[in-house]
């Protein structure tokens, strides 16, 4: 189950949806494992089963059906909403997370498959109120318009720079070409990705 959130007194659309969702899931828990007919195979589900996810350095225990994607587990169960659900088909990049150091589309991976992996989202980049140097660069270079693609672009840029701290323009373009921005602010996203150190560590209130 998701860890208890401290100080969450208000009632929001999100917490309402979460409550409704949790009821549905609880009703689906019938027992974790079943053995297939005639075969000595250990099958999990289709009912919800316990899994553990390591997200942003914290372990979360939750129960999900095998069909729940990593994206939906993060957003609707763990309230980690940096990864966005847009196309849900691995075509837009808004759901990008860093998994064991590589970018992946969290909409196109099952939560149950992500066990044992180190998962990082945009939330994990910020330390308190101090933005990551890449997040800071997105502000400084105006790397966003509506902002919906931004967490995906930021995580993709962070994954690139952790592997290749001084990418060429061409390398950066290639590394970021799995993300789409409908507003079309690509030149500034690229500038941000190429200039991450511009104002690292500046406090934002």
């Amino acid at each position: 189950m998701a860890p208890k959130k401290k100080d969450e007194p208000g009632f929001s659309r999100r917490s309402f949806l979460k409550t409704v969702g949790a009821g549905g899931v609880a009703a689906g828990v019938l027992g974790p494992a079943s053995t297939a007919e005639g075969q000595n195979v250990k099958a999990i589900g289709p009912a919800a089963s316990p899994i553990q996810l390591n997200v942003n350095g914290k372990f979360h225990r939750l129960e999900v059906e095998p069909r729940v994607t990593l994206l939906d587990a993060l957003r609707t169960r763990l309230n980690i909403t940096g990864p966005k659900r847009v196309c849900d088909r691995g075509s837009c990049g808004a759901c990008t997370v860093i998994l064991d150091g590589r970018t992946v589309y969290s909409c196109s991976m099952l939560a149950i498959e992500a066990q044992g992996k180190v998962i990082r989202t945009a939330e994990g980049l910020t330390e308190g109120t101090v933005l990551h140097s890449v997040q800071r660069a997105f502000c400084d270079h105006d790397g966003l318009m509506c902002g919906f693609c931004t967490p995906g672009f930021v995580t993709a840029a962070v994954a690139l720079l952790e592997k290749n701290p001084k990418p060429t323009r061409q390398e950066a373009r290639k590394a970021l070409d799995g993300n789409i921005c409908r507003c079309g602010t690509y030149p500034r996203v690229l500038e941000a990705a190429l200039n991450p150190k511009s104002a690292a560590g500046v406090k934002r209130g």
Binding site: S34, A36, Q39, N40, V41, K42, A43, I44, G45, P46, E65, P66, R67, T69, D88, R89, G90, S91, G93, T96, L99, R102, T103, V104, Y105, S108, M109, L110, I112, E113, A156, K174, A175, D177, G178, N179, I180
Partner: protein, 327 residues
């Protein structure tokens, strides 16, 4: 998507044991990029997924000097392998251009080769097309701008895999395991036309798995893949070609020329191969071979433009392999 049970197979034996003989009921899950999208659209509705990421994920030299690529090797891993790039640029160039970085980071060699067609009628729940057991190929009278320009149907998909084409050009062998043991299939025999196999695209039985792609020693062969794309990422090529040329000096001793995205299987062109054999590698020889490659093309109502694109892809793949400028 419909609910299903999940088996995390430790290796190929467990994976095969968890699959079954009934088509579509138990499906292997590799990177999941193709399969989960099919399931979200209810095109695939398995009762069980068998995670096969526990298959071999190594790229290893074979005793004869070739390369053995595990089915669970990711496309990123293949594209970044210096050894594979040195030995078979046709293969690594194709891997490097698949989809997007996120897709290549999880997409596997086995998954890429066994992915299902991109035909929008096949992918759309509303169209009960031939491949889904219906009675009509909607592409014939419909939107067929990305469909096949070779083959006689009755289904007019193009094969979606980027690695299938260089695999055939490089004369790869595929190791397949099933409930009764293993077999080795030539890449050129692995893919099946729709008149032989309408509901699948390969010889793989529902309870078999592709475990390895084995590439023969490259010798003095020069290989290349050239893709023509509408978009530079997030897309499949409009047409592409992989070539493998065995050389003596600058004369072609033998050639394998295979086109992609033009037919329901990787489309080998014996005519183009014959046109190259015995010739010096020049732009003119490449042009002649490219002309031969598209002889006999039968475009549909909206895709005759693909004939010229396929021709260009063949010409440029040959020139790329020869180290000549492609544009």
């Amino acid at each position: 998507m419909k609910s299903f049970a999940y088996v995390n197979a430790a290796g190929e034996k467990e994976a095969v044991a968890a699959l079954g003989p009934e088509r579509g009921r138990f499906l292997p899950l590799a990177g999941g990029m193709d399969l989960l999208a099919l399931m979200k659209d209810y095109i695939a509705q398995p009762d069980r997924l068998v995670n096969v990421k526990g298959l071999d994920r190594a790229i290893a030299r074979t005793p004869d000097g070739g390369l053995r690529i595990g089915a669970a090797v990711t496309l990123t891993q293949l594209a970044e392998s210096a050894e594979a790039r040195r030995m078979y640029p046709a293969m690594t160039d194709a891997a490097a251009e698949v989809g997007t970085p996120q897709i290549r980071n999880v997409g596997t060699v086995g998954g890429n080769i066994n992915q299902r067609p991109r035909c929008w009628y096949f992918r759309n729940e509303e169209f009960p097309c031939l491949k889904k057991g219906g009675s009509t190929c909607y592409a014939v009278d419909g939107e067929n701008q990305y469909h096949a320009i070779f083959g006689d149907g009755p289904c007019h998909i193009v094969h979606p895999s980027s690695l299938a084409v260089p695999s055939v050009a490089l004369n790869a062998k595929f190791r397949v395991v099933g409930p009764t043991g293993e077999r080795v299939v030539d890449a050129g025999e692995y893919f099946q036309m729709p008149d032989r196999n309408l509901f699948g695209e390969t010889v793989l039985a529902p309870n078999e798995l592709l475990t390895h792609v084995m590439l023969p020693p490259p010798g003095a062969a020069r290989t290349a893949t050239y893709e023509v794309r509408f978009k530079q990422s997030h897309d499949w090529p409009l047409a592409f070609a992989s070539v493998a040329l065995s050389m003596s000096g600058d004369t072609v001793r033998g050639a394998r020329v295979v086109m992609g995205a033009v037919a329901p299987i990787p489309w080998r062109s014996p005519a183009a191969e014959a046109a190259l054999t015995g010739k010096r590698l020049t732009e003119e020889a490449a042009m002649t071979a490219a002309d031969a490659a598209v002889q006999g093309a039968k475009p549909m109502t909206l895709n005759s433009y693909k004939v010229q694109i396929a021709r260009t892809a063949v010409k440029r793949a040959i020139m790329k392999a020869a180290g000549l400028k492609t544009v």
